[in-house]
């Protein structure tokens, strides 16, 4: 952090680190070193053994950094695959053991990688989804989980709740949820894609049964991630083939990507405490200045700064009367890159399911922007944003009036 990015022209700002963040030099170095090597980690000869050694050392690195055993690390193609393996894999194995287990308890603010798995299982495989309500800050209350379980404990296949929300940054009470579920012997999966590198994440200490992590959100390459799977958790595979990764995830191991991923995880976790405090400081400055310069802006999510409250790099606002996509376009045209934070279908903005679950009405859920900071963010990025945001809000409001069917005088 605080090192200017030479690839970006001055006056521009990349404020979308939650979408993807630049690769760390350590990860680039570790990955490129392997790109020029030959060897399939499943082969028995020398080249295969060399690749295998890189993969296994990477596994140990990831396990050590995240408080897991090496045998608990299953490499995947990223967060989405890890979520699919966890949700589908746990559902299938738990229901196979007891056909009454058809309910999946998921927070209403999960990423689509989880929500759409639950939805698919409901439509094609007899699952009964239970979407757990959140409060106005976007947080699942432990009592909500308890009540949902106690309605019929024997019918719950799994609970899945994210560590921190990707849109509004709200941190979930994972430990309390695990304690409640485990009292009934129910496994818990957690999508920690946004959390690793920004918050302390320790798999063993969390008590979780499965945890998803993605490479490119923490300075590693795109296209690699892992599911941490507790040793006693039975999991039915999604990908079948050569039997790699304890038969849980077939497919030739991507040695270069895994090496880059492990280097990034190690660096991100080592640097996490200092990184988080720097991000919080910069983020709080951004929030205060946005609220000062755009007085009717509303901060969404938890206003707290603690590790159990909000992701350090996340700032999420509603701009009443504006359309998020118009704001995004105006900022993009002036070199400021951010996100509306809502899911897109063919580029058409839809109100965010996260904000709707938090009780925002449709119109307010459309006029939002997420600014997310990361390891290359500096004060200059905040300056660049504030230089153009107030003017963009004025214009987007005019466009909002027009879009609502009004005419400009």
């Amino acid at each position: 952090m605080h090192t200017a990015d030479p690839t970006r022209p001055s006056g521009t700002a990349y404020l979308d680190h939650a979408a993807t963040t630049p690769m760390l030099p350590e990860a680039v170095e570790a990955m490129t070193r392997q790109l020029v090597q030959v060897g399939n980690a499943s082969s028995l000869h020398r080249a295969g053994r060399a690749a295998r050694r890189v993969v296994e050392e990477s596994r140990e690195t990831v396990a050590h950094a995240l408080g897991a055993r090496p045998s608990e690390v299953v490499f995947t193609s990223g967060g989405t695959e890890a979520d699919n393996l966890a949700v589908k894999g746990i559902f299938w194995s738990r229901r196979a053991a007891d056909p009454r287990r058809v309910r999946i308890l998921a927070s209403a603010v999960e990423h689509h990688a989880v929500l759409d798995c639950v939805d698919w299982l409901a439509r094609h495989d007899g699952a009964e989804p239970v979407f757990l309500d959140v409060d106005v800050l976007g947080r699942v209350r432990p009592e909500t989980v308890r009540a949902a379980i106690e309605a019929a404990p024997e019918s719950v296949a799994l609970v899945t709740v994210m560590w921190a929300n990707n849109e509004v940054g709200t941190v979930q009470p994972v430990a309390e949820i695990v304690a409640i579920a485990h009292a009934y012997g129910i496994p818990v999966h957690c999508d920690a894609v946004q959390a690793v590198g920004q918050l302390p994440v320790d798999f063993a200490a969390s008590g979780l049964d499965a945890l998803s992590v993605s490479g490119h959100k923490l300075g590693g390459p795109i296209g690699v991630g892992a599911l941490l799977v507790a040793r006693d958790l039975a999991l039915t595979p999604v990908l079948h083939g050569g039997g790699q990764e304890r038969d849980l995830r077939s497919g030739t191991l991507d040695t270069p990507a895994i090496a880059g991923f492990a280097a990034a995880v190690r660096h991100a976790v080592d640097a996490q405490p200092e990184h988080a405090s720097q991000l919080v400081e910069l983020r709080e400055d951004l929030i205060q200045r946005v609220l000062h310069d755009v007085p009717d802006a509303v901060l969404n999510g938890d206003p707290g700064v603690g590790a159990d409250e909000r992701l350090p790099g996340n700032a999420h606002f509603a701009f009443p009367g504006c359309e998020g996509d118009a704001l995004l376009m105006l900022l993009d045209a002036r070199g400021v890159e951010c996100s509306t934070g809502s899911a897109c279908t063919a580029g058409v903005a839809r109100p965010s399911h996260v904000l709707l679950a938090m009780g925002s009405h449709d119109e307010r859920a459309r006029g939002t922007l997420r600014f997310s900071l990361g390891h290359t963010s500096t004060e200059a990025d905040v300056e660049a944003l504030l230089a153009v945001l107030p003017g963009a809000v004025v214009r987007a409001k005019r466009a909002g009036v027009v879009s609502a069917g009004g005419r400009l005088s």
């Binding site: 118009a326 045209a333 063919a346 580029g347």
Partner: protein, 354 residues
């Protein structure tokens, strides 16, 4: 940018001319199809991707604007309402009037843009009183008729870079520019009726009206058949009348009039389709409104031939059009677009004919 070849080349030419261009694709369907079948339909996800890909090739930002609700209200509902009132609407014209050069233009101006640039085939000519709207050089593609509803102010904020070029050349240019959509087929028909079955679409839309059937009569008032929905008929239509008994003279019969109130469809011979006088309502002018009767050309349907006429704006804001030669099969609801040579003077919606 629709995802078609015309808007992509129009955008490319605007970039070449030095403008700061942002590509916008309009999402007009609430439930877009994944793929497009041949030349029909629009706003599929594939079209959006084609448009986005073209914008990438041109190096311009690209956004999708969701105007599905406005479109459903201003274009699709208007289409259904007009048919059920016995008129024959032109939805492209309505879309230009209330979507592309209203909703889109207003939003663009509010966001700080200066103009809306489209792939329409029409020309803008600078003149002392502001830009004039003229026919395109490609007579087969000229779209000035469907732009005839634009006001002078809308025209002042429009750009039509393709008006001076033949369509075949536009395709060649698209290929030269490396645009993958160079060979995409032209779109035809009504974009929101992908199967091309207008009558079936109207039947589905108007299903809740109950029995819509009525009589088919000849111009003497004699019942010659029956129909199950007057809205499925258009003045000038010959096919699909399903009249059992042939006409006395043995000649084909055409729809002369559609009266939704009595649910009566009147048919007659081709001669009875001739029209010499047209009254238009809701006139719109691309410049100053004409004072007194003017000698001009009028076009009475899309791709129709221009007809010499005298046009006079009445005190009640209706437009009297006296044709110097009879025109055939003119349907109320279509536009009468007034031209001075190649220049669009204005337009009105045809209310009645004689």
């Amino acid at each position: 940018m629709s995802g078609g070849v015309d808007s992509a080349v129009a955008a490319a030419r605007a970039v070449d001319a030095g403008h700061d261009v942002t590509g916008v694709h309009l999402a007009l369907s609430k439930a877009p199809q994944a793929h497009r079948d041949g030349a029909r339909g629009c706003c599929t996800l594939e079209d959006a991707n084609d448009a986005r890909r073209a914008a990438d090739v041109l190096g311009i930002p690209f956004y999708v604007w969701d105007l599905a609700e406005r479109f459903a209200e201003a274009v699709v509902q208007d289409f259904v309402d007009e048919y059920s009132a016995g008129r024959t609407p032109n939805p492209c014209l309505r879309c230009n009037e209330s979507i592309k050069f209203a909703a889109v233009l207003d939003k663009a101006l509010a966001l700080g843009f200066d103009a809306v640039c489209t792939g329409h085939y029409a020309q803008l000519v600078d003149a002392p009183g502001g830009p004039e709207l003229h026919r395109a050089v490609d007579p087969g593609k000229d779209q000035s008729y469907v732009l005839g509803v634009l006001s002078a102010e809308q025209v002042a904020h429009a750009m039509f870079p393709l008006g001076d070029t033949m369509k075949t050349q536009v395709r060649v240019e698209a290929a030269r520019r490396g645009l993958a959509l160079a060979e995409k087929p032209d779109s035809h028909d009504v974009c929101f009726i992908p199967d091309g079955d207008t009558a079936g679409f109207l039947h589905r839309q108007l299903a809740d009206l109950g029995d819509a059937g009525g009589d088919i009569v000849d111009s003497a008032g004699v019942t010659v058949g029956s129909h199950d929905g007057a809205f499925a008929f258009t003045v000038g239509q010959r096919r699909g009348l399903r009249i059992g008994t042939p006409a006395a003279d043995g000649r084909p019969r055409y729809v002369l009039d559609v009266s939704p109130v009595t649910r009566t469809v009147t048919v007659g011979s081709v001669d009875e389709l001739d029209v010499r006088r047209v009254v238009g309502v809701k006139p719109r002018w691309c410049g100053p409104a004409p004072v007194g009767p003017i000698e001009c050309l009028v076009q009475l349907r899309a791709h129709g031939e221009p007809v010499p006429a005298v046009v006079r704006l009445r005190a009640d804001d209706c437009l009297d059009v006296e044709l110097h030669a009879p025109a055939r099969g003119i349907a109320p609801g279509q536009a009468v677009v007034v031209y001075a040579g190649t220049r669009v003077v204005g337009s009105a919606t045809i209310d009645s004919t004689r």
